[in-house]
């Protein structure tokens, strides 16, 4: 029963990953992240992703604040935030988020406030999607790890 569950879990995870790849939400950088996970850091992926979400949340808040400021003009700061966001997103393989960041940065460099707003909307949307999916994925991973750790009591 447990073994069967583990297989199905693995299949689900693969399916989800395939979907995310197919949608362009993730790219191969995420795979590299998975490859980095080894005995010395069994939770590496989830750890990094958690950090990423925490950081991104901050960044999104900052961006939102910057943009909603009535006499906003600090596009440079926005660019720095976006660079940061781009860096971390690309590092975990969040491809679509990164792409939106690129568009966002382009808009901010043109001092295109409307464009920035739109990009921010899109960014938040993409981010939420990524977050949900990755959570789903990580949960499955967690289950899998737990399942792998569980053993039937040895029957005599």
């Amino acid at each position: 029963m447990l073994g069967f569950g583990a297989d199905r879990l693995r299949a689900d995870m693969n399916r989800l990953l395939a979907l995310l790849f197919h949608q362009g939400v993730l790219d191969e950088q995420f795979l590299q992240l998975q490859q980095l996970q080894d005995e010395t850091s069994p939770n590496f992926v989830s750890e990094v992703v958690t950090i990423y979400f925490r950081e991104s949340e901050k960044l999104l808040t900052n961006l939102r604040e910057l943009l909603s400021d009535r006499d906003f003009s600090d596009y440079k700061k926005m660019g720095i935030h976006l660079n940061h966001f781009m860096g971390s997103s690309s590092s975990i393989g969040a491809k679509r988020v990164k792409n939106v960041c690129v568009a966002f940065r382009a808009a901010s460099e043109q001092n295109n406030r409307l464009g920035c707003f739109r990009a921010l909307e899109l960014l938040e949307h993409e981010y939420c999607y990524l977050k949900n999916k990755l959570h789903e994925f990580l949960q499955m991973e967690q289950q899998r790890i737990m399942g792998a750790g569980a053993r039937y009591p040895i029957q005599n």
């Binding site: 950090i51 660079n83 860096g87 690309s90 975990i92």
Partner: protein, 648 residues
């Protein structure tokens, strides 16, 4: 190993400064497990990246220290000098710009610093390079890239112990970049390079001067003194002072007085002046090289020698630097490689491209030509235009000339181009003629060149004549261009059929000469009437002879050097012979002359092997253009001009 290294570091830093440290720290290279345990400091405010990087670096078996604040990292580096081999730093950090950190680390620790950023745009990367980063990683950073970073440590150590400059390879590239830059500057007409790039480049150069100065002050003897940072502004002041005094009379003391900057010592200025002089020398060296390139059009041998001095590696470096505008690069590339290989075809192509460039339309020259051989031409063009502001004139003139041929030489061959050129040409013809008359002295040369066309040497001589003419660049250009085309034309004609004779008949001097040359190569027997040529069984030798002759004809020959020049003396009398012999012979040319024969002479000129491949294609292409062009051109020189030359 680490401990030992640390000890060495400490001792060396306390005793005699940074450079020794780097020398001693090269110990790890001798260790078989070298990259293992490389001490890396990672600075990034992005904790996600930091975490990933840390893990990746651990995977590479490096010794990783992470730090999410630049100031903290700097303190760490200062406190534990010699405890790190390489620093990886993000570009954008809230507390301190990554470049600032890079600068400080470079100055104080002389450690290799690798910058990284999600911003992979050229400008950003360029900034990193300008600030002396030894590498620039674009996020996402991959494991493969990190595996390799130890190379920067080794490189730094090796170059650091040899040369205070950032890195040998970089220095080399930079020099070459300067070369490219210089070429750009020299050819102001070259619009391919945008101004902003140049400005950037300049700044970079200035900046580099700073670095040199700074690092020089790192000398153990002076390291106690306050460091003088040769900022761009300071350097500008310096340059102004030098200019005011004149570079020859500029002495540190006077410069210092003129600059009037508190805290600056005579020694600082002296050191910087020395650097500056070196820099100027380098620049002038580059300029010479560049003029060498342009000289290709003066004298092939000469130019070859210079070009030869550029090693393939250099060019690669240039290319790698990516700072050279494609045109220039291609030009250089062609000069170095293309020239030697296809001495004959290239010049022709050059000219044609030149024409094309000036004409701004591909009427007379097929686009293909431009693509394949265009670059050198473009460059040439720019040079010419620079010297002769009236390049616009040439543009007009060329078409007109083209137009003329069709009229004169309907027999030569039908071509689509003819029609077009015709319409334009008529009004222009008169103008051209006038110009020609005015520049008769120059024209003879060009006509000669036409004759000699087969060899690239000839072309150079033409261009040279153009330069001599000086004021009126346009006519020479045209003539040269045409002449080259005409050469091809003839050869082609001969190879194809007897049409050639027709052309010859119409074209008094040039045509004859060309044919003569061709004959000598391809079928000695047929040229029996030409005594001088008959002797030359070897096609190669005949070519050379011809070339030399042509050069001789051109009074400007002095510029020519190398094989050609040497031959000059030997073959003074042949020219007339050739002409005479050929007058009657034109029709007799065997069709066999063909491509192969043609090729042989070319390759014999010792300009390269690659030529063969090109040859056919080129020739075929040329045929279309040049059949039409060649004849008319020659025609243009017309009896009076030609005769004048001959009589001379």
């Amino acid at each position: 190993m680490e401990l030992e290294l640390e000890l060495e570091f400490q001792s060396s830093t306390t005793t005699s400064g940074v450079h020794q440290q780097s020398k001693s720290s090269s110990t790890p290279t001798t260790s078989y497990e070298f990259p293992v345990g490389l001490r890396v400091l990672v600075v990034d405010d992005d904790t996600t990246c930091l975490r990933i990087l840390e893990h990746m670096l651990r995977k590479c078996a490096y010794h990783v220290t992470t730090c999410c604040q630049a100031t903290v990292a700097l303190n760490l580096l200062r406190e534990r000098k010699g405890c790190f081999d390489v620093v990886i730093s993000d570009v954008h950090m809230p507390d301190m710009d990554g470049f600032k950190l890079l600068e400080l680390v470079g100055l104080e620790m002389d450690l290799p610093v690798i910058m990284m950023s999600a911003d992979g745009r050229t400008s950003a990367v360029m900034r990193g390079i300008k600030h002396g980063a030894c590498d620039y990683l674009i996020k996402p950073v991959r494991l493969e890239e990190l595996k390799n970073i130890w190379q920067h440590v080794v490189r730094k150590k090796w170059t650091g112990s040899r040369d205070p400059e950032q890195s040998g390879s970089m220095e080399e590239t930079d020099r070459l970049k300067r070369a490219g830059d210089d070429i750009d500057n020299a050819s102001s007409a070259n619009e391919g390079t945008d101004g902003s790039w140049k400005v950037q480049k300049k700044r970079k150069d200035a900046k580099e001067e700073d670095d040199e100065g700074d690092l020089d002050n790192d000398d153990p003897s002076t390291c106690k003194k306050p460091r003088v940072v040769w900022s761009v502004e300071l350097h500008q002041q310096f340059v102004t002072a030098v200019n005011q005094l004149g570079i020859d009379k500029a002495v540190p003391k006077r410069i210092l007085e003129l600059m009037n900057v508190p805290g600056l010592t005579r020694e600082n200025v002296a050191s910087h002046l020395q650097k500056f002089r070196l820099y100027l020398k380098r620049l002038s060296g580059v300029a010479q090289q560049q003029s060498g390139f342009s000289n290709v059009y003066y004298g092939h041998g000469e130019s070859n020698a210079k070009v030869g001095s550029l090693s393939g590696l250099d060019i690669q470096a240039l290319a790698a630097s990516g700072q050279i505008p494609p045109q220039t690069l291609a030009a250089i590339h062609d000069e170095v490689f293309g020239r030697p290989t296809s001495s004959l075809v290239l010049p022709v192509m050059d000219k044609s491209v030149l024409l094309q460039a000036s004409l701004q339309r591909a009427n007379c020259i097929s686009v293909e030509h431009g693509v394949s051989f265009g670059q050198p031409i473009i460059k040439c063009h720019s040079n010419i235009s620079k010297r002769f502001p009236s390049s616009s004139i040439s543009v007009e003139d060329i078409p007109s000339r083209l137009g003329t041929w069709p009229n004169n030489f309907s027999t030569v061959g039908s071509s689509k181009n003819l029609g077009e050129s015709n319409s334009e040409s008529n009004n222009m013809v008169t103008k051209i003629l006038q110009q020609q008359k005015r520049h008769q002295s120059a024209l003879p040369d060009s006509s000669h060149t036409i004759n000699v066309q087969p060899s690239c040497v000839v072309v150079p001589s033409q261009s040279r004549s153009n330069f001599h003419a000086g004021n009126i660049a346009a006519p020479p250009n045209q003539s040269s261009a045409f002449s080259s085309s005409s050469l091809v034309d003839y050869s082609y004609l001969s190879s194809q059929s007897n049409n050639f004779s027709v052309g010859i008949g119409q074209v008094p001097d040039a045509g004859l000469k060309v044919t003569g040359v061709l004959d000598g190569y391809s079928v000695p027997g047929s040229i029996s009437s030409v005594s001088s040529y008959s002797g030359l069984t070897d096609s190669v030798s005949s070519w050379q002879v011809q070339n030399s002759i042509t050069k001789l004809q051109g009074s400007d020959m002095c510029s020519l050097s190398g094989t050609y020049t040497s031959k000059r003396g030997a073959l003074p009398n042949q020219e007339p012979d050739r002409n005479l012999g050929f007058v009657g012979k034109g029709s007799s040319l065997p069709s066999r002359f063909a491509m192969d024969d043609f090729e042989l002479p070319m390759s014999n000129l010792s300009h390269g092997k690659a030529y063969r491949n090109n040859d056919r294609g080129v020739k075929q292409e040329l045929n279309f253009d040049f059949i039409e062009n060649g004849m008319p051109v020659i025609r243009q020189f017309s009896p009076s001009d030609v005769m004048g030359v001959l009589s001379k």
